[in-house]
């Protein structure tokens, strides 16, 4: 008789716990801690032996289970009348967390079962050549948010030499000057990348002002900022009047 080890893939320690509870057909309100702890630890060992990455959270929960188990072995002291009988139970917090997680797990499943855009339903405006269904091979420019702009600037700064970040105060340019300069260049060139905008002037003030200028122009809706796919080149263009 061969043994078939079927290892479920779990989305974290709470997921594993729920699985064990269901497998043992246990009441979640009355978990036999010793049994569950033992099975949980066995599962962790299984994962380790299969070279699966056991995230820190699994170990934290293992410690929590052992702690609860030890608490339940101790004789319970006289409880003050204010403490609810439920809350005195060392398993209370864990059960509460499990129940909450269970609801969200169900919510996630329900969400996934809805008719999804670009999976089940479609709106107008696609052509058969349009290969960029939402994600994956995004070749088309996508409007981006401040979030991505911050990341882009961070990337630029990270690549710079430390010496270049020292402020060179010879050019006392103001933010307004920078805004005007960017608008002038865009009017001429229509569309520019971030790198082109910064030009060769890799000093802290220039970069900071460029960043602030772009945010301000975005806010005023005078420019559009977009990205060629995720992590692609970021470009800036004037908002065209129609």
């Amino acid at each position: 008789m061969g043994y078939e080890v079927k290892l479920e893939i779990f989305e974290g320690p709470l997921d594993l716990l729920l699985y064990l509870i269901k497998k043992n057909e246990i009441e979640i309100y009355d978990i036999p801690i010793a049994l569950i702890t033992e099975q949980y630890l066995t599962h962790i060992e299984m994962m380790k032996s299969l070279n699966l990455d056991v995230a820190g959270e699994y170990l934290v929960l293992a410690a929590t289970l052992i702690y609860i188990k030890s608490k339940m072995l101790l004789p319970s002291p006289e409880e003050s009348p204010e403490v609810e009988e439920d809350e005195a139970d060392p398993r209370f917090e864990l059960v509460k967390q499990l129940l909450e997680y269970q609801v969200f797990k169900e919510a996630a499943m329900q969400l996934g079962q809805r008719p999804l855009l670009e999976r089940d339903v479609f709106k107008r405006g696609y052509s058969a050549e349009d290969k960029n269904i939402d994600e994956g091979k995004d070749e088309i420019d996508v409007d981006i948010s401040v979030f991505e702009i911050v990341e882009a600037f961070y990337r630029i700064i990270s690549k710079m030499e430390k010496t270049e970040l020292i402020e060179i105060d010879m050019d006392k340019m103001s933010l307004t000057d920078r805004i005007n300069e960017i608008m002038d260049r865009l009017t001429e060139k229509k569309k520019m990348t971030f790198t082109e905008l910064i030009g060769g002037q890799l000093n802290r003030r220039m970069i900071l002002y460029t960043f602030l200028a772009i945010l301000e122009l975005m806010r005023l809706r005078m420019i559009r900022v977009y990205q060629a796919g995720s992590f692609g080149v970021i470009s800036v263009a004037l908002v065209m009047e129609k």
Partner: protein, 175 residues
């Protein structure tokens, strides 16, 4: 005399995104909101009865033509595209955010029992989730919430259309 219903239908057809009643009213200021609503409802019924390839739906606070859900396979085939699938981790994080917004990353981590950083990043990139500001407590942590795109992708009229947490909880009691 203009045919208001036809005009409304044409407007919704032209728009790539869901059209709100207020926007329609800008074009037809002499038609009452209630009347616009009624005409849209008539249109929805007509398309439903037609049993055609697409229907008129209320989604993300507006109205939009969308293909019927059971025809998804064919459209995918036509578009030769593989739809992006969200991982279970991302779906769980998304569910927490949808129900608990505005919510902190640490709270999402806490509900799920795992670090949700990469899921959160993916959801932000896909614009299903957005930054709603910072909580006014020490550390000023970022608060997250769902976007309009979230409603569009999941075919929701508004957040209230989601089953309540209580309903989901009761669903479990039965199993």
């Amino acid at each position: 005399m203009e045919d208001s219903k036809a005009i409304i239908e044409a407007i919704i057809f032209t728009s790539e995104n869901p059209v709100q009643i207020d926007k329609i009213r800008e074009v037809l200021p002499d038609v009452e909101k209630g009347e616009i609503s009624r005409l849209i409802k008539e249109l929805m019924d007509e398309y439903e009865k037609r049993s055609g390839g697409f229907i008129l739906l209320e989604v993300a606070g507006g109205f939009q033509f969308r293909t019927r859900a059971d025809l998804g396979y064919w459209i995918s085939k036509f578009l030769k595209g593989r739809p992006a699938i969200l991982s279970r981790a991302a779906m769980e994080a998304l569910a927490v955010i949808a129900y608990k917004q505005p919510v902190l990353k640490s709270e999402v981590d806490s509900f799920r029992g795992v670090d949700s950083g990469s899921s959160l990043k993916g959801l932000l990139e896909r614009k299903l989730v957005r930054i709603m500001g910072r909580k006014d407590v020490p550390g000023r942590p970022i608060m997250y919430g769902t976007t309009k795109k979230f409603l569009e992708v999941f075919n929701l009229k508004d957040l209230a259309e989601l089953p309540t947490l209580k309903e989901l909880k009761d669903l479990h009691k039965e199993t």
